[in-house]
């Protein structure tokens, strides 16, 4: 180096001769290092970091003292001026030091590491306090924080920096409030606008955990961002407020923010909002009900009349057509296609949320007349229309980020179902096109300088995935836009070899010179560069890879046509490659990753698992492409991955690979999957437990008895008992009474009477086929559950039944803020309460556990297995559990959990509403695949959320559990005559069954009829006497008369079963 690293400069920094000399030294240092990576390195090695950080800290203390004096109104006498100029110099030193830090941090993780170990973050964050810093200093600080946040959490855990202090500190109360204050500045000066944009960008970069997002929402950062967003809405002139203060909202207009200045940047605001509200309906509502949003788009614009006009455009330019919708092209043809006279008659309530998932379509068609069932969550926020408009009008990053927020809103149920048509035509093609353009531009040899546009292509596939994942219509739109081809292209591109180093080494006139300093300075971590971490290009490619895989998974879950197209595009080998994890000990990994071949980070593994799961739903793909490419081996190793989310996803794929007809079943069994799954079933993670039991359920179906028995032994009989008993005795089954006509088919049983015919596996949308034979085969087929398995969101029944009254409640705008607050509180409870979450998890696992037992005792060796279970689990205990499952429970007021329930109910009551809040049920909104960090595994069945029960009431069990129990009984009755005798002798259990014959759920009614059919089945003459006794017992229980009453059941399936049962009963009683 010809401009030698000047020790005088360093000495000046360490021990300043005067404050102005220090400032000069800092300024010189700044100009030395900006843009010079090589010099940054040698300065760090010289030990420049600690003194600079010290200046930040000490200058702050003194600067603060000075400013507080000013604040006290000290007269500006001579002394004061001296102090001020001293303070000014201090501020200047701090500014220059901050700039130096920011410039060093630009260098990437290697350069951030020494800064962090010198403790740079606390003084930087302290600068954010209001009144603490001049705008310039604040700006420099935000820039430095942004650069640090950029290199902070690596997508590869364990590689590069793993310092979590920035996000945690950032989301602390004081800092979060400071952030909110920065965001709330309304000055149009470009420096202020830049501060706002940087703050939003820091949030987007560092907010990676749910607790951080929740903290930011709690501390009004979300409100501040919403106000910024509202200011853009004002700037476009689309306020829907009448601007006339109404009686109940006298200050409504005050909350309307001034229009956004021309320099304000929309994209970072949208991104930060999306980052905060993702995965949470509660936070999404917080956004919609934030003061500024309510002021700009008052909820009264959601009243039923307006809503009728909202997304509909049935007759364009009706009187109530919303001004914002008028900006969007009318799509009459598309609308008429999806609108039925029925739904037109019930505009805001008409569409079924069900049709979002295919199982739902199935159910909805079964329900027939219940189509117009009111749906509670059908709010169509005007924000949705505005975002569609923005996404169309703007390009690049704004478009993608607007689409992201839009997708979150849609997936949380804040867009009218009718909007899907316009999304299909207006948004999906745009996203695919932007993806294609960016994909064509993607060049692995590109220098990392061009990373400006990277956010677009990293985010666009994820947004597409989020948007289409539950909607067959939107999936079709994506396919029409050729998304599969583009995504396949993108995926393949991420496997192109990255040039060995994307940042070629700098040339040095004297290569040895750079090392000279190290020896002279003590080997502090703040004086040495950290590990290089992951090269930016690799990170970028991995994000693209995860995005492409997620989007492919989201397009293909329902239709074989799309899966076939994916295979035809040659994607499978790449998916298999994406399943290969990064080996922690791999050579050179600890120093940094500069190739994509080193293995995949968890985000990619998760996305690859969901893609594999989507593909494995197709029998043909399962039998050909997936096995040809050897999916089993990499997947199997993921079962033992150290990241539990990866384990969960891998287990979900295993679910599909171990079904009876899978060619991989033997291979996987031989590899010892049973042992792993049984271990996982004991996991503390509810999700993993669920998936493992689920996979076991599939595995034991039609398996030889020795496999079944070893499964029970491996799981542990007492554990299995505990699994199906767990918790419910105390507080398990709520809410059934709120859905008397529950239409929902419990998972995995939808087509159980199809008796193991797997043909309709591929067409989960097909209406259920009626049972073919009258001999009940009685196996719990797993086929349907494959379909449901990866459906990310299941229809939410509880929403449905109360829809009529609840949506009218929602429809009428919340007139007071208290009302809004009360609603938010309920949703918050529902979403965030760990007890409720645990309950949902328990019920889900229980259902699977019962199904597992069912599958254990069906098939050829069933009698032996029944005896085996009776002896290992305890016959009496089993029946006792089954009985308790069927019995309605009384909530015990002494129970601590019941107390909480009561409190919630009280709060709900005080909020002015009297019944439950089913409309706020947080179904598991299909956000899972939207983020690489969360598991794209199927969601927990969202049951039993409504437990705003008054204590002391009796609560019937959920239909899912009832059905599961019933089918276990069906199978026991299908055993040998003595099993039938044992069952009929359980008088308590049998009497619990009686009311179920009139259960609103048709599947339960059918299952009850099956029990009778099996109980009255007579194998041979030796059983004749006992058979007659059983028939008499059934008659005495009043079951026969119940069956007579069911002869005119509206459901064909039930009627047929009842006919058979009555015939058999009759012949025995004759």
């Amino acid at each position: 180096m010809t401009r030698p690293a000047s020790p005088p400069l360093l000495a000046e920094l360490r021990d300043p001769s005067s404050i102005s000399a220090q400032v000069a030294a800092l300024r010189a240092l700044k100009n030395e290092i900006i843009g010079h990576e090589q010099r940054k390195e040698s300065w760090i090695n010289l030990g420049v970091v600690p003194p600079v950080v010290r200046i930040l800290t000490s200058a702050r203390a003194r600067g603060k003292a000075a400013s507080s004096r000013d604040g006290n109104g000290m007269s500006r006498d001579g002394q004061g001026i001296v102090h001020d100029s001293f303070g000014d110099a201090q501020d200047e030193a701090r500014l220059q030091a901050t700039i130096v830090v920011g410039s060093l941090a630009q260098g990437g993780p290697a350069f951030v590491a020494p800064l962090l170990s010198a403790g740079v973050i606390p003084p930087l964050l302290a600068t954010l306090a209001p009144g603490e810093a001049s705008p310039q200093l604040l700006l420099a600080t935000l820039r430095a924080l942004d650069s640090i946040a950029q290199s902070l959490p690596s997508d590869y855990p364990g590689v590069g920096l793993s310092d979590a202090s920035l996000p945690s500190l950032l989301c602390g109360r004081r800092n979060a409030e400071n952030i909110a204050a920065i965001l709330s500045q309304t000055s149009s000066a470009s420096i202020i606008q830049e501060q706002i944009a940087l703050t939003a960008s820091i949030i987007a970069k560092s907010c990676r955990e749910d607790r951080h997002r929740a903290a930011l929402a709690r501390h009004h950062v979300l409100d501040a961002l919403a106000a910024r967003l509202a200011s853009f809405i004002v700037a476009t002139g689309f306020i829907l407020s009448t601007a006339e203060p109404s009686a109940d909202r006298p200050h409504a207009t005050e909350a309307i923010p001034p229009p956004a200045p021309s320099r304000a940047q929309l994209a970072p605001i949208l991104e930060a909002i999306a980052v905060i509200i993702q995965h949470s309906k509660y936070r999404t509502l917080q956004l919609l009900f934030s003061p500024a949003m309510v002021a700009v788009f008052p909820p009264s614009s959601l009243d039923p009349v307006a809503k009728a006009a909202w997304g509909f455009a049935l007759t364009p330019r009706t009187a109530h057509l919303n001004p914002i919708d008028q900006l969007l092209p009318q799509l009459p043809g598309y609308y008429s296609k999806s609108s039925s006279p029925q739904s037109a008659a019930f505009p805001p309530l008409g569409s079924s949320r069900f049709s979002r998932t295919s199982s739902a379509t199935n159910l909805a068609s079964e329900l027939g007349s219940s189509n117009e069932r009111a749906l509670a969550e059908d709010i169509d926020s005007p924000l949705v229309a505005w975002l569609v408009h923005v996404a169309r009008a703007e390009g690049g990053r704004i478009r993608v980020m607007a689409a992201w927020v839009l997708s979150i809103l849609c997936r949380s149920g804040f867009a009218h179902k009718r909007r899907e048509a316009s999304l299909a035509l207006l948004i999906v093609p745009l996203l695919v096109r932007i993806l294609k353009d960016e994909c064509d531009k993607l060049d692995v040899t590109q220098s990392p300088d061009a990373c400006d546009g990277w956010a677009v292509i990293e985010r666009a596939p994820l947004v597409l995935a989020l948007l289409v994942m539950d909607s067959p219509d939107l999936q079709k739109a994506a396919d029409d836009a050729d998304a599969i081809k583009v995504l396949a292209q993108l995926l393949k591109k991420t496997f192109e070899a990255v040039p060995s180093s994307t940042r070629p080494a700098y040339w040095s006139a004297n290569p040895t010179e750079t090392q000279y300093a190290s020896s002279s300075v003590e080997a502090l971590s703040s004086n040495n560069l950290g590990p290089a971490g992951v090269s930016p290009m690799v990170t970028h490619l991995m994000r693209c890879r995860a995005g492409a895989l997620s989007a492919l998974a989201a397009i293909s879950p329902f239709k074989d046509e799309y899966r076939k197209k994916i295979i035809d595009n040659g994607v499978v080998p790449y998916i298999i490659d994406s399943l290969k994890p990064l080996e922690p000990g791999a050579a050179g990994v600890s120093d940094g990753i500069s190739t994509t071949s080193a293995g995949n980070p968890p985000s990619v593994l998760l996305a690859a698992c969901s893609a594999a799961r989507a593909l494995s739903r197709s029998v043909s793909v399962l039998r050909t492409s997936l096995i040809d490419n050897g999916i089993a081996t990499p997947l199997f190793s993921l079962l033992r991955h150290h990241n539990i989310e990866v384990q969960i996803s891998a287990t979900a794929v295993i679910c599909n690979l171990v079904i009876e007809f899978s060619p991989m079943r033997e291979t996987i069994l031989d590899a010892g999957v049973l042992h792993i799954l049984c271990q996982q079933a004991h996991s503390p993670s509810a999700k993993l437990r669920l998936n493992a039991v689920w996979a076991l359920k599939h595995l034991v179906f039609s398996a030889p008895n020795d496999v079944k028995m070893s499964c029970v032994r491996e799981l542990g009989p007492s554990w299995l008992i505990q699994l199906i008993t767990e918790e419910t005795d105390d507080f398990g089954n709520y809410g059934e009474e709120f859905r008397p006509s529950t239409p929902r088919t419990p998972l995995g049983m939808g087509s159980s009477n199809a008796a193991g015919e797997q043909v309709d596996l591929l067409n989960s949308t097909e209406p259920e086929r009626p049972c073919a034979g009258d001999e009940y085969e009685g196996d719990l087929t797993m086929t349907d559950s494959i379909g449901s398995l990866s459906r990310s969101s299941r229809p939410d029944v509880s929403l449905e039944t109360n829809g009529a009254n609840s949506s009218s409640r929602l429809g009428t705008a919340p007139s007071t803020t208290e009302n809004i607050k009360a609603r938010l509180a309920v949703i918050k409870d529902d979403e965030l309460d760990p007890v409720q979450q645990a309950r949902r998890d328990d019920i889900a696992v229980q259902e699977q556990g019962l199904d597992l037992i069912r599958n254990l005792i069906c098939g050829p060796g069933a009698p032996e297995m029944i005896d085996f279970l009776f002896s290992t689990l305890g016959q009496d205990q089993m029946f006792h559990i089954f009985e308790s499952k069927l019995r309605p429970r009384v909530v015990d007021g002494d129970n601590q959990r019941a107390d909480r329930t009561g409190a919630r109910a009280q709060r709900a009551a005080s909020a002015g509403t009297t019944t439950t809040y089913p409309q706020y049920r947080i179904g598991n909104i299909a956000v899972s695949a939207s983020s690489s960090s969360s598991s794209p595994s199927f969601s927990q069945p969202p049951q039993n959320a409504n437990q705003n029960q008054t204590s002391g009431k009796s609560i019937p069990p959920t239909p899912e559990i009832i059905l599961a129990v019933c089918f276990v009984l069906v199978h026991i009755a299908a055993g040998q005559p003595r099993h039938r005798q044992i069952l009929i002798s359980q008088s308590d259990l049998m009497s619990e069954l009686v009311p179920l014959f009139n259960h609103p759920n048709r599947h339960i009614r059918a299952a009850c009829a099956w029990i009778v059919i099996n109980l009255t089945w007579v194998d041979d003459t030796s059983d004749q006497m006992n058979g007659r006794a059983r028939a008499l017992e059934l008659k005495n229980l009043g079951i026969e008369s119940r069956l007579r009453g069911m002869e005119s059941d509206p459901e064909l399936d039930v009627r047929e079963r009842v006919k058979t049962a009555l015939a058999q009963l009759g012949s025995l009683l004759r």
Binding site: N31, S103, S190, R263, Y506, A509
Partner: protein, 252 residues
């Protein structure tokens, strides 16, 4: 040049001209475009005067124009070092993030060093060599175009400055300063979240595009549609803006 941009008066002799006369752009719009040009291109005092004259609100941050103007003036003067310092003062991230712009600036600085030593009677190329070694050479291997640029620049030391091949002569041409100054201006503007160039540039391109489309499709338009700025010989809008737009600062 200031007032002439607004001139629309042309003698009527073609149906097209009547159309032009009918389409009267609002004065506000024209004022806005002019103001936008003055602010974006960096003419603070002209902007202030214009605001006064046209009775409109002066653009928000005249101050930020001033900073840009100083940087540009430094560049046009050939004082690259203070320009770089100024850029770093304004936004330290610009050069950290844009290696290619930084390289362009450093190369310009090298060219200025070479210029000083070649024109002086006693050529001492040590300064230039040292600068090249310490500043430019380390970066050269990172990108092929850097290497090529550096090699070509170093060739200036070898050949006599009065008989250079055209590509080399272009390096010593003041227009290179202008080009770099424009890049810097655009980089600063975009770092501030503003448009990279004045609206009127886009309008002029649009006009040229529309005219050529119209001619392609044989629409009835006059053979020449003058902009009405200067003499009749200067009709091509692009070149016109090249010469007028990036001209010497208008500090009055």
């Amino acid at each position: 040049m200031t007032s002439s941009t607004t001139s629309t008066a042309t003698p009527t002799r073609h149906p097209f001209e009547r159309l032009v006369d009918d389409a009267r752009p609002s004065k506000t719009d024209i004022n806005f475009v002019i103001m936008d040009y003055l602010v974006t291109e960096g003419y603070p005092s002209a902007a202030k005067k214009f605001a006064l004259e046209a009775n409109i609100q002066p653009a928000a941050d005249i101050e930020s124009i001033q900073e840009r103007v100083e940087i540009r003036n430094a560049l046009l003067r050939g004082d690259i070092e203070s320009a770089i310092d100024g850029i770093n003062e304004l936004n330290p991230q610009i050069l950290d993030l844009d290696a290619s712009l930084h390289f362009a600036l450093l190369r310009l600085q090298l060219i200025e060093l070479i210029r000083t030593c070649t024109v002086s009677s006693n050529p001492d190329i040590t300064a230039a060599l040292n600068f090249a070694t310490s500043q430019l050479a380390p970066r050269a291997p990172t990108r092929p175009e850097f290497l090529e640029d550096l090699e070509r620049t170093m060739a200036l030391l070898i050949f006599p400055s009065d008989s250079l091949a055209p590509p080399l002569a272009a390096l010593l041409d003041p227009s290179l300063r202008k080009a770099v100054a424009n890049r810097v201006n655009e980089a600063i503007l975009s770092s501030q979240g503003a448009r990279r160039e004045a609206k009127i540039r886009n309008l002029v391109r649009l006009r040229a595009w529309a005219e050529s489309r119209a001619r392609e499709n044989k629409k009835e338009i006059p053979e020449l549609i003058p902009l009405g700025l200067d003499g009749p010989d200067n009709l091509h809008s692009e070149s016109l803006f090249q010469t007028n737009g990036g001209a010497e600062p208008m500090v009055t």
